[in-house]
Amino acid sequence: MKRRKFLKTAAPLAAIPTILNGIPVSAFGASAALESMTGGRDAGDHVLVIVQMNGGNDGLNMVIPLDQYSPLSAARSNVMIQDTKVLKLNGTTATGLHPAMTGMQQLYNDNKLRIVQSVGYPDPNYSHFRSTDIWLTASDSDQLLTTGWAGRNLNNEYPNYPNGYPNTAMPDPLAIQVGALLSPGFQGPQMNMAFAITNTKDFYDLQNGYEAPAPTSLYGKELQYIRTVSAQSTDYSAVIKAAAQKTVVHGTYPANNPLADALKVVSSLIAGGLKTRIYMVDIGGFDTHSLQVDSSDTTQGDHADLLKQLSDAIKAFVDDCNGLGFGDRVLGMTFSEFGRRIQSNASLGTDHGSAAPMFLFGNKVLPGILGTNPVIPTGASVDDNLPMQYDFRSVYASILQDWFCVQQPDLDTVMLQNFQSLPLVDNADCAATALHEINKAAGLNLITNYPNPFTTSTTIQFTTGGEHTLVQVFNGEGKCIKTLVDDNLTAGTHKVSFENEEYATGVYYARFQNGPVQQMRTMIIAR
C-alpha cells in the first residue's frame, strides 16, 4: 500500500484511544514527524517474508566452499557435489551454489541475494524439536522461552493486540502464516500474533453465536481462546478475501511447487494492499539422513529437489514483486533449525549438524557474501561440526533494526539481549518513526506503566470493567513472579505500584485480566 493511501484510511485519528505517555495521540496529527511521512518513502510498508526449511538443511551442499573442496570431499565423498558442476557466483571463485539453484545464482548476480555464512548459536542443540524452538523463540541454547521473536516484535509494535483489533490503524492481520498451523515464532506474551490461511479464497463463516459468560477456570480460558479465534477469523478473512480479489497479473511461478504457491499467496496479499508486516511460509523434508543424493549422481536426489523448489520459488517471487511494483518493499529470509554434519553417513545422507548459511533476498539487501567460508578440518570425523560465525539472533536484530526500524530500547526488549548489528539490508528508509507511535496506540489500551524503563519502582495503571480483576507480573521467560491485584474492583481506572525486589534487569510483562479480557504490558527493568 502506498504511504499516502495509508494516511487517508487512517485519517480518523480521533478513533485511536486517548493518551500515549501523557501526550494526547491526536497531537501526532499535527506533528512534523507525521507530516514528514507524507513525503518520500519510509519503512512503514516494509514486509518481511520468512521461509522456514524444516528438518535441518545441509548448508555445506547448498553454499559450497570451493576453497575447502579437498578436506570436504574427503569427509563426505558419497554426497559431495562435483566441483565443476557447482554454480559460480560473480566476483568469487571460493564459493558456489548447489547446481539446482540457478534461480538463486541469478538473484545473487543481480545483487538481490545476501548470503550469511555459518549462522548458528553457541552450544548447538542437535534435536529438531529443541533447535527449532531456539530459532523461533530466539533463546539461548539452555533457555526455555515461551514467546517467539516475531511475536515479541509484533507485541512491541502493537501492544494492545488483540483488544480493539482490527482497527483503522491496523485493519489487517499483524502477521500471516501460509499454512494450517501457526508458528511458535509468532507467539506473543499473551497469544499468537499471526493469522493462518491456506489460500485466499475459501473462507467459511463461523457461527459467532450465543456466548455464555466464560468462567475464570481452565475451561473458561480455553473457551475464550476458541471464541477469540472465531471472531478474528471472521474479521480477518473478510480483509484477506477483499485483498486477494484485487486483480493483478502475477509473474510466472513454477508448477508443482507448494512453496511457490505459498509465496504467490503472499504476493497477492501484498498487492491487495494488506498492511501485514510479516509473512511466514515453510518447506519441509530437509532431514536428509538417507538418500540425500542419488548414488549415481550426487547433483540429483532429495536434497537437489528441495533446493530446486526453494530456489525456483524464491526467484519467481522476487521477480513477481518487482513486476507488481513493490520489489523495494519486500525482504525475504530463509532459515533452518540446524545444518548437517561435515562427515556424511553410509546411507548417502548426513546427520544433524550445527551452523549453516542463511539467505536474505530482495532488492534492498546489501548484496554479496557476509563472512568467510567455513574451514573444514582435514580428516573430519563424526565429532566435527562447523562453529558459528554469526549468531542467528544478530540476523534477526539487524533486520528489525534496519528493515523495521526498531530502535533501542525496543530492540533489546524484543531480542532480550543486545546482539551484534550486521550489514544485511539497506536502512535508508528508516527516517520517519512516528508510525511506531501510531501502532502502539492502536486498539484498546487497558494497562500502562510509568516510568518505563524503570529501576526501583513503576506505577501500573489499568482500566477495569469491574468485578474480578487480576494484575500479575511475568518475567521474560513467562513465569509469574508477582500478583499485584486479585480482587473485585469497581469499574474505572486504578493504579498499583510495582517495586523492583532485586529482579534481574530485562523484560517483564504486566498482565491484566478482567473477566474474559486480558492484556499484556511490556516493562523494562534497567539499571
Binding site: 481452565l218 478474528q232 519441509g284 545422507g349 486479585d486
Partner: protein, 553 residues
Amino acid sequence: MNRRAFLSLSELEEEQPVMPAAPSSILRSTTGTAPYTGTFGQKEVKHLLRKVMFGASTADINYFKGKTMVQAVDELMLPTGVTPSPPVNNYSNAQNPDPNVALGQTWVNAPYDQLLIGERVQSLKSWWMSLMLNQGRSIEEKMVLFWHNHFSTELKEYQDARGGYKMLVTLRQHALGNFKDLVKAITLDPAMLRYLNGYLNTKNAPDENYGRELQELFTLGKGPNSGYTEDDVKAAARVLTGYRIDQTTLTSYFDSSKHDLGSKQFSAFFNNTVIAGQIGAAGATELDAMLDMIFATNEVSMYICRRLYRFFVYYDIDSTVEANVIIPMAALFKSNGYEIKPVLELLFKSEHFFDIANRGAFIKPPVDFEVGFARETKLVFPDNTDVATQYHMWKQLTDYGFLLQQWILDPPNVSGWPAFYQEPMFHEIWINSVTYPFRNLLCDALLFQGVTKSGQTVKVNPLEFVQQYSNPRDVDVLIDDMIAHLHPMDADAGLKAVLRTTMLSGQTSGYYWTVAYDDYVADPVNSTYKNIVEYNIQIAVRYLVRMPEYQLS
C-alpha cells in the same frame, strides 16, 4: 429454518444479557492422586468416557452410569482382548487389479507391490479409523493413538502399509502392557528401523537418528532433569548397530557382522555405564543392557507420566500438578516395573482427574472430535458386503483428519503432533482460522448432505439421534439432554433459550414441538412432518457442535 426464523434467532442472540464473570481468579486444581470419593453420576461418567474413549456414546453412558467409579475405571482399563481382523483389499477393480489379493481379502501378508502403495496405505488408514469408530468399552483404542503419537512414524516416508500394520499390531499388543517391553518392540519394529534409518546403522557408518530419538522422544525426554549427552547419543547409536530388515518378510533381524564390537561408554547421567561389545548373536543383548540402563533413571517415568497427563487431562503442568500428580504417578510407574495399566488407573481414579477445575478444558484433537461426533450422533457406517464403499466412508474421516491437521499414520515428524508438546500453545494449536471452519464443515456434511457412494449414504439420522435421549417429545428436556451430552459443562439459560427458539422455529410454546414430533413418529413417511422435525433437529445439533464448547472435553 426459514429466513424469518433465522432473523428472530439472531435478534434473540443479541438480546442475551451478559453476566459478570465469576469473582475468582483462574481456578487451578490442588488435588492429587488420592482416590476420588465424590459423586459418580452421569456428569462424571461422561467426563470419564470422553477422556478414555472417543466421545461418550449414549449406550456407553447408560452402561456405566449404574456402576461405581472404581468399577467403571477398572472395566475401562482392561484390554479388549480382541484382535481386530486385518485390513482388506478394498481397492482392486478391472483397471487396478491386485494380482496377489482378492477383493475383500487381506493384503497384510501379501508381497509388497509398488503399484499398490497408495491403495494399501489408504486401506490401512481407513481400517484404523473403523477400529476407533467401533471401539470396545476400553481405553485400549485411545492408547493405541497415544502410542502412535509417542512413537511417531510417517507412512509417507516409509511407504509400506505392511509396516504400518505391523506397528499398529505391536502398539495394540502392548498398549496397556509393559512400557519397557513396548520400547524394545518398537526398537526392533521394521517400520521404525526404516523410518529412523536404524537399518542403515552399521559399525562403519553409525547413524544416530534412532539412538537420539530413543532418548529424546521415546524414553527420557528433555525435561529439566534429563541429562543425557551428545556422546550418549553416539554411544547409543553404536549399541544399535547391526539391525537389518528382511524386505520380503518385513521382519527385522540382527546381523552381527554389522555390529560395533567396541565397548560403549555412557555419561555420568547413566552412572558412567560401559556396555561391553558382545561378539556374534550376543551383540543383540546390548540393547537389553542399554534399556536397563535408561530405565534405571527416574526420568523415564517422569517423562511418560507428563505425556500421559497432557494427552488425557490438560497441557499446563504447573508445580502443584507436578508435585501432586506427576511425581506420584511416576513413582508408581517405576516401582511397578513400567506396567502401564496401574498408572492409568491411578490417574483416572484420582480426585485430580474428577476435580471440577480440570474438566472441560481439553481441546479435542481432531480424531477425538471426528470419531466422537460419529459416535455421539449414532452415525451408521455400511457393512462389509461392499468393502469398497465401506472403506470409502471411513476414508472420509481420515481425509478430514488431514484437513484438521491430524492425519493418522502420518504425523508431521518424529516428534508427533505439536499440540502434544509445543510450548506454550499445546492443544490450542488444533484450533485456528483454518482448522476451526473445517471442523464445522465436517459436521455440516454429516448432518445435512451426508456422504454417498454406490447407493449408500452415511448421514446423521435426526430421529435416531433424538431418540437416544430421555424424552425427545419434550423440547425442554430434549435440549437439556442434548447440551448435557454434547457440551462438557452445564448450559446456562441463555443457550437453552437460543436452542428453544431454533427448534420451535420462533414459536414459544413447547407444545408445538411435541405435536410435530408425534405427527412424524406416527407417520414417518409423511415428508412434511419429516422435514419439519428433521430440519429443526439438524440446525439445533449444528448450532451445538459449531460452538466452542463442543471443541472442548
